[in-house]
């Protein structure tokens, strides 16, 4: 246990001497995919609640497909599937993009968490009480202003507990990155395991790091909730 820590603590935390690895890579994956997911989800959640089927149906299809299939399958599809397609292989920019495991991982993670986040935000938008909308309209707000000032800020607050859950689940999902050769915590632990054949120690250390990150995230979200959902506290 001690010698594994001595040999691998740097790689587990930030770098193996060649590039970013371990905890730093996991956090980078988490931040980037959640940012992509958030930016994707906000407009899609508005469209998801539209009355026109041309608007909501594609969004529904997107969330249906991405929430109905395992993330591992999506990652495989993007990482090994798309690169094997002929036209991708022969288009230089696309081939460059899909050759990198990191790009494919972030793309699939972002699309996946985007689908879940869309449904969370759409649910929160749907729960807006009609009184708030009526009041906004009575003040002479345009639709855009109404969304910007009333509906979206309130919906994001309501979505906070569910969204924090989704971020934790995303942290757990980042472990899949090691199947696309991205050197996150699990990849380093797996390398350590191949070198030492001590599975309990190697994966146990990884589990402890993930546990610490989970608890930190939960703590941060609790504080955020206390700030933004203060009006709900008893």
């Amino acid at each position: 246990m001690i010698d594994i820590l001595q040999n691998y603590w740097q790689a587990l935390l930030y770098s193996d001497g060649y590039g970013v690895t371990g905890l730093a890579m996991t956090l980078w994956l988490l931040v980037l995919s959640c940012a992509i997911g958030f930016c994707l989800a906000l407009p899609l959640a508005v469209l998801r609640n539209a009355r026109n089927p041309v608007l909501w149906f594609p969004v529904w299809l997107y969330t249906f497909i991405f929430r109905g299939t395992p993330l591992y399958v999506q990652l495989l599809l993007i990482y090994s599937g798309i690169y094997g397609l002929d036209f991708v292989h022969h288009t230089a920019p696309l081939a460059d993009f899909f050759r990198s495991g990191l790009n494919c991982t972030i793309l699939s993670f972002g699309l996946n968490t985007g689908a879940y986040t869309t449904e969370i935000f759409a649910g929160a938008i749907k729960e807006t009480s009609h009184g708030e909308v009526d009041a906004g309209l009575a003040m002479g707000m345009s639709r855009v202003t109404l969304y910007r000032r009333i509906i979206i800020p309130a919906a994001l607050r309501r979505a906070l507990p569910a969204y924090s859950n989704e971020v934790i689940l995303m942290l757990h999902a980042t472990t899949l990155a090691f199947t696309a050769t991205v050197p996150d915590i699990l990849k380093v632990a797996n390398d350590a395991y191949s070198a030492t054949y001590a599975p309990f120690d190697c994966f146990g250390i990884a589990a402890l790091i993930y546990l610490c990150v989970s608890f930190t995230l939960i703590f941060l979200f609790r504080r955020t909730e206390r700030r933004y959902l203060a009006f709900l506290s008893p």
Binding site: G68, T69, S80, P199, Y210
Partner: protein, 236 residues
Amino acid sequence: MFNLAGYGPQLFSGMVTTIELSVLSLVVSFVIGLLGASAKLSKSRPMRGVATVYTTIIRGVPDLVLMLLIFYSLQIWLNDFSDYLNSLQGSFTFAFPLDPFTSGVITLGFIYGAYFTETFRGAFLAVPKGQLEAARAFGMRPKQVFRRILFPQMMRYALPGIGNNWQVILKATALVSLIGLSDVVKAAQAAGEATFRTFFFIVVAGAVYLVLTTVSNGVLILLERKYSVGVRKAAL
């Protein structure tokens, strides 16, 4: 198109493996969840402590990490155990080989048992206390109270959570192909590598999962209707 380049049978048996694995894991985690929820709501402090540590750790660590941890460690522990038994008496030779399927069921059951514990805990608490007191007043034994009063009502509150967990388990079985189980993902990968049509076969695997989740969604709606017989919904 529909004979899947001759890989249809492999994909089909992979799908059957996926379904078997998820159903068995569901059963294991369901039982662990009931036990865990009872432990969490019991009066004994050590029981509550153990259950709380279990759910906190399992839900804080990624399932893939736990899966690798348990899969590789379990085999070593079992080998040590059989070595120990063999050293005790020489006439038998004990061996506990562990195939990916069994360890997949054990691991998934153990992991999602923690999620079920939380689901059931919430559902147990949602059953009005007066019902249980009334049952006790009728002279029912604790076992009867559980079977006749608590469980049927608890299921109504637990069903949405159970459905959620089931969908998560179904999708988590894809991870078991990483520890060598030949499920539908593995079959699709093999077929894709053999025919150089990875994209197509992975889409097929994804479609299989999509069908499974959609069908189970339908079943869940039927179950919810069954368990909420006699409950009046607010007319909105």
